[in-house]
């Protein structure tokens, strides 16, 4: 369970549904883009989660997170891939993030560089996400850095990780979730949920194992705004599996974006009702307006001030 006392930790422990949204940094060096994106997001989100090169090379997550703070966002969560940083860079950037008053680090392995990002690149893969979670927690709780160095101060950060509801067999899935929790994850963001039955099966197994009591589970919804992009995401699996039926429903609809919002909102409503769900994270493919649209339609008004 959460060990820190920042506002995001308080929100996770508040008992109400936490609502967060994704921020994809720009593909260029345009600082105004972040300011504009932030202004278009609802002001009462519990946190904004900055992605770390999930699909292509974008501006750095630490820079975008810092710009969001400058924009007055209270809780900013910064994703960091173990793909692009060795343990030296992971520790160093995490300390830097804490100095910038970033609330949490989302520890991810990252999509493989060969899938649409940069196939020629060598990946760091020095630590994996579980080792990164564990190392961060060691820094936060004990002021201990990797390689035995003592830190001059303990960073105040929450630690997030990803969960993969559709990974089977379930036994392997739960082993992995348990490991992330034991390593020190305070919250788990999931892949995008479309197949609600598959998600429910997983959540039931998680609840049965008592894991929802040990970690805050925040499933993701993804309003599809662009059918071509959705087909790409279905093919490369950046945010998890997208069933053909979802693509077909958007395809048949007179207004694809509206249908995408409708689908994501229906899913958010169902997720909200499930015991063990502590929040909803809204992906948005750079379209900030989708976040407010889903919140309104699903009736999941956040109570934060991020």
């Amino acid at each position: 369970m959460t060990t820190q006392t920042n506002d995001f930790a308080r929100a996770l422990n508040s008992g109400r549904l936490v609502v967060t949204a994704e921020c994809l940094p720009p593909r260029g060096s345009d600082a105004a883009y972040i300011a504009d994106f932030s202004d278009r997001l609802p002001s009462n989100l519990d946190a904004v989660v900055v992605a770390d090169n999930p699909d292509t090379i974008r501006s750095s997550s630490i820079s975008a997170a810092s710009l969001l703070k400058r924009q007055g966002r209270n809780n900013v969560i910064m994703a960091m891939t173990t793909r692009d940083r060795n343990r030296i860079a992971l520790m160093s950037d995490a300390l830097g993030a804490a100095a910038l008053d970033i609330s949490a680090i989302l520890c991810v392995a990252g999509n493989h560089q060969s899938i649409s990002i940069c196939p020629q690149a060598a990946a760091a893969n020095d630590l994996d996400s579980v080792q990164f979670i564990h190392a961060l927690k060691d820094m936060i709780l004990h002021g201990a850095g990797l390689g035995g160095n003592k830190l001059s101060s303990k960073p105040e950060l929450l630690v997030g990780a990803l969960a993969q509801p559709y990974l089977r067999p379930m036994e392997l899935n739960l082993l992995h979730v348990r490991k992330k929790i034991s390593a020190g994850a305070d919250f788990l963001l999931t892949q995008a949920v479309f197949d609600i039955e598959g998600f429910e099966l997983w959540l039931e197994a998680v609840r049965e194992a008592g894991l929802d009591k040990r970690v805050a589970i925040i499933p993701c919804v993804m309003p599809i705004a662009d059918l071509n992009k959705a087909r790409d995401l279905q093919r490369i699996g950046t945010y998890g599996p997208i069933p053909d039926a979802v693509i077909a429903r958007v395809e048949k609809a007179p207004d694809a974006a509206e249908e995408g919002i409708a689908i994501a909102s229906e899913i958010a409503v169902k997720l909200k009702a499930m015991p063990g769900v502590r929040g909803i994270h809204i992906l948005n493919a750079e379209l900030a307006s989708l976040v407010a649209a889903v919140i309104k339609r699903a009736g999941i008004d956040p109570g934060g001030d991020a």
Partner: protein, 222 residues
């Protein structure tokens, strides 16, 4: 074994385009077994390059020899005489063999005819798979004899990524997910509890990251 694959005849022809008299040297060990650089392959490549150069109106004389192992000084001795008669050498060994010849014959240009690929096994006729990265600190005992360092595309040591399916790896649909294999294997040998433990960060100092490695085994020195 070390698995290699041949460079194309066009590339090979271009690499030696400035030379008129070249020795093609095969290696009788790993690369013979993986059908890339043995006597047979050297013969075929010599013929093909000779023909290609003829068509380019730039004929070349190619002689051939295949020795037991190019990575072993003992066998390299046999090359002294044939190498003295040519302008350049094309080695059909792995990268280690090519460099062994270059060191042994400092006055001769030496070129590689193969792309050295990996440490692997022959899975079925004409199909080789990579199994070992040579990290210098074997962890196979923990993972039921399946190496996640080599066989997981993200080198994950604590479980599968979000792209894992029971059928394949997200990076390549022709490849099984190493973590699904590890899970099945540990389950079948009754060691699934190994997956409960967090595997701590690997010490990569035994791998290539500290630079090229050297082994001295004092007990075997004379």
């Amino acid at each position: 074994m070390i698995v290699a694959s041949p460079k194309s005849i066009t590339e090979l022809k271009d690499i030696i385009s400035a030379h008129k008299n070249v020795l093609f040297v095969g290696c009788g060990t790993c690369v013979s077994v993986c059908l890339a650089g043995g006597e047979r392959e050297v013969g075929i490549a010599s013929y093909a390059v000779r023909m290609a150069r003829k068509l380019d109106r730039n004929p070349v004389e190619i002689s051939q020899i295949t020795i037991e192992r190019q990575c072993d000084n003992e066998f390299l001795k046999e090359l002294a005489e044939p190498i003295s008669k040519v302008e350049a050498v094309v080695s059909f060994a792995c990268g280690a063999g090519v460099q062994a010849i270059a060191e042994r014959f400092p006055e001769k240009p030496v070129y590689a005819a193969l792309n050295t690929e990996f440490l692997g096994v022959l899975e079925e006729q004409a199909i080789w798979n990579e199994k070992c990265l040579g990290c210098g600190n074997c962890v196979l005992a923990q993972f039921g004899g399946i190496c996640p360092v080599t066989r997981c595309a993200k080198r994950l040591l604590n479980g599968p990524c979000g792209g894992s399916t029971e059928d394949h790896c997200e990076v390549n649909p022709d490849r099984p997910c190493a973590w699904q294999l590890i899970y099945k294997r540990l389950k079948s040998i009754g060691q699934l509890d190994r997956l409960e433990e967090i595997v701590m960060p690997k010490d990569w100092s035994t791998a290539w990251y500290s630079g090229p490695r050297k082994i001295v085994r004092k007990e075997h020195q004379v």
